[in-house]
Symmetry: D2
Subunit: 312 residues, 4 copies
């Protein structure tokens, strides 16, 4: 029995990669291992087929195969959110309907990149709400860097008011601490329903500060999801300095993994090194790491290991 996503979601929803074998085939064995890994380190949810997760490199058949496999492996232990942004509403409905039938807990939608004015954005999400229907909870993804669409605080609040099925904001307006504070203040003042806010800013590069502003956790990717889990746990226990200590230990590598061009290649390299996935392969077109990149990474991992030892 699938648990639907709701406004109480918190913790760490890891943005999963899509594992491929060396020859570029979908790697389902690694998919299982990856799911187990994420759950073992403390993920409270998973997000798949995200904008940055090579979703557009999959055929529609492969997308369905991958979603099905993840859902089977998760087996209801945590909610799974599926990216459903699409160039049109008909394919969005088609994908959302299929994955919800398979057992997803909700979908995630970013604004179409052609939207500009407040009215256009609000009208778009009214259509999204109508398209997805009453029984499909959805996550509003606010990521101007990839969409080019800037949503003001008042627009986000209007969308939440208009859409009873919007239960979460994926906050990744860069960095947007003031916006996060303002949205939280609005629900505390009773202006708007309180939704879950998970943050995605650059692999969690502002996570400690975001938690202090009222975020409920993180929805992002990083080869060491232990960082997000540890920071959230320390923060939840009231030990903010400890949260920063953990964060600082991982920050040099997290920063390196956030490079817009080679970031995903770095993440897959590290996950392969850690034995989570079999191959670091990205589908074309995608970057390859140079030996200098690998040397950088190795140095940062060594330094991180040392620092974590000192910390504990």
């Amino acid at each position: 029995m699938t648990r639907l996503l709701d406004e109480s979601a918190k913790g760490v929803y890891v943005l999963a990669v899509t594992p491929f074998t060396d020859d570029g085939t979908l790697d389902l064995a690694s998919t299982d291992r990856m799911v187990d890994f994420y759950l073992e380190v403390g993920a409270t949810g998973l997000t798949i087929l995200g904008i940055l997760g090579e979703a557009t490199k999959l055929t529609s058949l492969e997308s369905r195969t991958f979603v099905k496999r993840v859902l089977e492996r998760v087996a209801g232990r945590v909610p799974v959110v599926v990216g459903a942004s699409a160039p049109g509403f008909a394919p969005m409905r088609e994908l959302a309907s299929e994955v919800m039938d398979m057992g997803a807990s909700g979908v995630m939608v970013a604004p179409a990149s052609t939207l500009r004015t407040d009215e256009q954005i609000v009208a778009y999400f009214d259509m999204v709400t109508a398209t997805l229907g009453e029984s499909c909870p959805w996550v509003l993804q606010d990521h101007p860097t990839s969409t080019g669409v800037q949503m003001s605080t008042s627009v986000v609040l209007r969308i939440i008011k208009n859409s009873p099925t919007c239960v979460m904001l994926k906050h990744e307006d860069s960095p947007g601490l003031a916006k996060l504070s303002a949205i939280r203040a609005a629900s505390e003042d009773g202006d708007v329903r309180r939704v879950s806010i998970l943050t995605g800013n650059g692999g969690g590069l502002f996570l400690p500060e975001e938690l202090s502003r009222g975020a409920d956790g993180a929805m992002t990717g990083f080869a060491y999801p232990e960082m997000m889990v540890g920071v959230c746990a320390a923060h939840a226990s009231g030990d903010v300095e400890r949260a920063h200590d953990i964060f600082d230990a991982y920050l040099p590598l997290a920063r390196y993994e956030q490079q817009s061009n080679i970031g995903l290649a770095v993440r897959k390299y590290l996950m392969a090194q850690r034995g989570v996935i079999a191959s670091p392969t990205l589908r074309k077109p995608g970057p390859r790491l140079s030996s200098a990149d690998v040397a950088d990474i190795e140095r940062l991992v060594t330094r991180q290991t040392k620092r974590l030892r000192e910390l504990n």
Copy 2:
């Protein structure tokens, strides 16, 4: 037996609309009527699922249904080109392979909107060529207004050199007469293979001048494709002034139909008025014509009819 698209293509490839019934269902009866209409007025080819043809509002099933119906109705009388631009290469291969199997003569691909440098663009189309394979002729769509990607003349020439299966340029860099001249000069000088060039600039708003610069015809939409057919025929017969006379008679309405916001609604309104399709419906999100818009259109049609009478 399907005729594959090749470098000798010329005349008018009409950019077909996608007909819907009043309630937004795919209208296959109107699809048949539309195909017949285009062929009767003199189209030498059809292009379907174009960027501006509501392709993104179809589910993948509907796309296939529509392509199949058009191909069946055309029954090999003229080549049919199918838009295959996609956010990734896997879905591009999937769609292209399916439509070619159904009997399409070629596909059309525009550059991904993230491309910027010359190298990125050339590398992208090398991937397109490899993705589509040796037996799938393709059309390079150069439409900076919709893609945001500017391809210089030298980039277009490099793509043609690198890609033996690229047989046509859909030229709609706005307006780009100098670019058209330069590309033609390159093939005349033997620098590059001569490909077909059909132009799409704003419903043919520069068609007479483009033909003078060496274009082989038009690939665009307009509720009166008679205009493009007439201009091309007059030009081919050497009567350039007659080509301009025909063009000028249609220009005021063609201009009105090219409005970026309501243009497609104008076209469908006119096609419904002409009895070609049953309903002027656009799928949401799409504009609706106001009574003032309709008054404008009616005036322009009346004036056009009068002018055409004077012309003949």
Copy 3:
């Protein structure tokens, strides 16, 4: 004594070019001749230093010299509006203050290209109003094609409400007939003060329809400003068909002059041919016309002359 611009402005404000000699020097003699020409054909105002008028190619000293010369030649016969869009408010205040002291009737400001949300745009123009001060009337330029900023109808209305010194809208959202209708409806309903609306759409390519929607005239450039003057006069006299007849006669050439790349070169070529300015020179970087371009223009001028003869 300078007449300040106010909400009653109407007719044709010609967007003036900046004349240079063959070697690129500011040509003040041609500036005088150009002013005389515009006024003789019926301009009711002039606009200088516009975004597309090579303003950015002038040094600050040259800008002032040119403004001064135009104002002296106009000698108060019609209002002169000066483009004052600037990357910051300090240089905007500096320029506006200087040109108003010289005798300009108002300034024109477009939104900074970094603005996205409704709030950002409204806040920006609040700053513009404060920067320009109580005694400087200004024109709101709505030109998304050049600024990348889309202002919804409600944003335009908010700006007019907030800014008592905003007396005119230069409407060139492409094409935006519905927006024009909505803004006019708002002032007729008493929601907002009625400001002057002059339209700039592509050299007046929608002028007859815009006048029918309530525009007060045109603010744009075209080598034959007689077109705009004639269309406005016929429309004002109630003869809408005559307005269209005049418009249609000029449309083929107006369309050609609106090419985004070579348009200004076409305009200066024609103005030099007509004897208005001494040289068609554009400052670098700027396009040069090819012989094929010139052949196109000559053909269109010949056809236009013939057509105008038939019209009268």
Copy 4:
């Protein structure tokens, strides 16, 4: 006697802020103090009127006053580079000529935001070189985030080949380690003259790695320029781990200061706290720090101080 900038430049060129008093007046006393501070902590050069340094909020008179004051205070001790990006070549020549006459060592130019194709970019910088003349060394600023222009490695190399007066690359393509490696490889292979490369990526957020790839230092702003100076010194002495240690100690605050919206406000707040400038004021339009922002900063400074103590 001014030393002109040349290809041997290295170390830390601090991107200076523009100090204002609480009421927004140019603060020349703070300007002097800021210059002294930068030089005392080890800056080997200064850069003023940068894109992000509130340059556009100054009148042309204020710009000149500020440049003059900085140059007088520096008094030839280190080279001063002045930002000279401008919307046109005439104002670029005007500004560059004035500041070189005042004693600047060179100017910095970023590509105009309208440029797209490789040819357009190369042609633009050919014009820049011709505009600035033979005696004005200049810095090529490669900052796609602010300009929207992506320059491939081959384009950067063509510009260096074409422009003998281009002596430095300000590398801030984000993050662009592979590009840096490729440009260095090209000069080592003798393909192109070796120019100085200083990096500006997000306040030096990749500085240790960039130095390993062959960068000669940093040109960026941060309220603690000691970081850049210390990292460069440790790296130059061969102690790469020490360079990382210093970097890591400052990274949490440097990251916080790089927020695209409030970053400059954070920097000025910290500089005012450190007594370098009298007031943290930014000219409008500019952000203000909230109490939550200040609390974040204070925490990070406290943690940084502790960490630096442990380091030494």
